[in-house]
Symmetry: C2
Subunit: 312 residues, 2 copies
């Protein structure tokens, strides 16, 4: 994205970004309607729809005041509802893929010498653990699929789509803030978002902590992921280079995925009446995903240290 | 250890080293006899005894030919028997300590939100896993303790001790090789040991490999550990700086300990009729120790890259 013209007003720059994202949203919606029974096409369309919905919602929040607040807050609430509803189905599917790939990797353990049985316990256990996880996550995905179909057919969704369609042609603007210069209106708000991110990164608990399998530090990282997105979208809007922020964000996406996969493995191990070998494989899987959590934290810090401090 | 006098003969240098190690062996033996019911004192004495026995045995092999071969080979066989017998008790004890510390670290996992029971399954399971490991390893240690007491009271041991006592005052030397110069006799043999080590390091499988929980690459690392010891003892004898070799060796000691602890956790998980929560905790423990194996490999490579190539 090119740097905005220095003579542009805040309203022109925010308006252009919101119109472009609204157009992407409508394209995603059309692709979704056209995809019909093609599950891959529908998933791609949902990704496009969610990406645009997130950008519109986040920009309305970061640059709150440049558009009329009651309208912006109302649309943002609806976009958050929509993108979180659509995200669930994708999350179940990718978590299942992630856990199956990990089990496949882990189960290539030959039987220890001197073990009574022919196959190692992890090989037997991991097949059962895989079946258990597939059952649980497929059920979750099916429910999420129904929920997202229901959402997309609802009058609530049609109202959101109508608002976004209006946005694609005309962005309502605050008569005072929108006429200010980009440097005086948008840049300070973007810097505020950057400062919030910098503070949250500085407050991250040391990693690896004393208890590597303890998930209670994850929330602070998920919050950094959210703030990094806000910072990245503001940078996109202002035409800045966001490549490194995108790389750091991808590390935090892996962090979130591994964190949730570990919790899923731990949860599956509490299923009543499972075999010890199944529980053992789920324990290995849990620890494996927690190590992926730690690895993702390390990757984030590497990209972050390359990334110029947003407040500098 | 100071560099040997360049005018010294191979026999003088090897002889001085063997006499010093034989004296350390006898000191360890005396400490062991004096320690009586003091388990800590006996363990320290056994460490001293084993360290000296290893150095004598390894030096006789590395510099084979400088002492009469039949005598050297015979004594070396007996020293290997002795140090491996004494090592077992220590190995069981330190493995138990290692696994208990790891379980303690791992079990500080709070119950995931929404879990039915009050305590996380790992906390319940890790207490049971700890009890199971303690039972199994304590039994092993008790058996090893009896075996080492029996060994130290045997006529076979008294014969070794007598040979070492002779060595402390007079080292039998080969009349030809021992009169050669250090540079012409000992240095080439030490370089051969260094070259063997360099070849073994170069042939190590890539790490992390595709299957991080697969222990079948461990043997190649254990062999590097053995060859590094041989190289280090030869360096000690020649008065070289062995600090980095000692650091790299310590990383390989941790590698071996983690590898064996992981195998112990996997073995305990095959105990019949254990609870799923116990098996789950053992699975986490297994994966944790396999990650410690990987970490130790990384540390070794860091120290090794600092260490001048032995063949250079």
């Amino acid at each position: 994205m090119a740097l905005p013209n220095p003579d542009s007003t805040a309203g022109e720059v925010l308006g252009a970004y919101l119109r472009a994202q609204a157009t992407a949203f409508l394209r995603g919606l059309r692709l979704h309607e056209e995809s019909g029974p093609d599950a891959h096409g529908a998933a791609d369309a949902a990704l496009l729809l969610r990406a645009a919905a997130r950008r519109i919602g986040v920009s309305l929040a970061t640059f709150r005041g440049v558009t009329p607040n009651p309208w912006a807050d109302g649309l943002r609430t609806e976009l958050v509802w929509l993108s979180s509803t659509l995200a669930d189905e994708h999350a179940y599917g990718s978590r299942l893929t992630r856990l199956m790939e990990a089990l496949h990797r882990l189960s290539a353990v030959p039987a220890p010498r001197g073990s009574g049985s022919g196959a190692g316990s992890l090989t037997v256990g991991s097949a059962r653990a895989g079946a258990l996880l597939e059952r649980q996550l497929t059920l979750g995905r099916t429910r999420a699929h129904s929920a997202s179909l229901q959402a997309l057919g609802s009058s609530r969704f049609h109202a959101v789509a109508d608002s976004v369609a209006v946005l694609a042609s005309e962005v309502p603007l605050d008569p005072v803030a929108a006429t200010g210069r980009v440097e005086e209106v948008l840049v300070p708000l973007a810097e505020l978002a950057g400062a919030r991110l910098g503070t949250a990164v500085a407050a991250l608990p040391e990693s690896p902590g004393p208890h590597p399998y303890d998930a209670h530090t994850d929330a602070a990282w998920h919050e950094v992921r959210r703030l990094l997105r806000v910072h990245r979208y503001a940078g996109e809007l202002l035409g800045e280079d966001v490549d490194r922020a995108a790389l750091a964000g991808a590390a935090l996406d892996r962090h979130r995925d591994a964190s949730e996969a570990a919790a899923t493995a731990a949860g599956a191990a509490r299923t009543p009446r499972i075999a010890p070998a199944t529980a053992y494989a789920l324990g290995v899987l849990h620890a494996d995903q927690r190590h992926a959590v730690e690895a993702a934290r390390g990757e984030f810090h590497r990209f972050w240290s390359l990334h110029p401090a947003p407040t500098a």
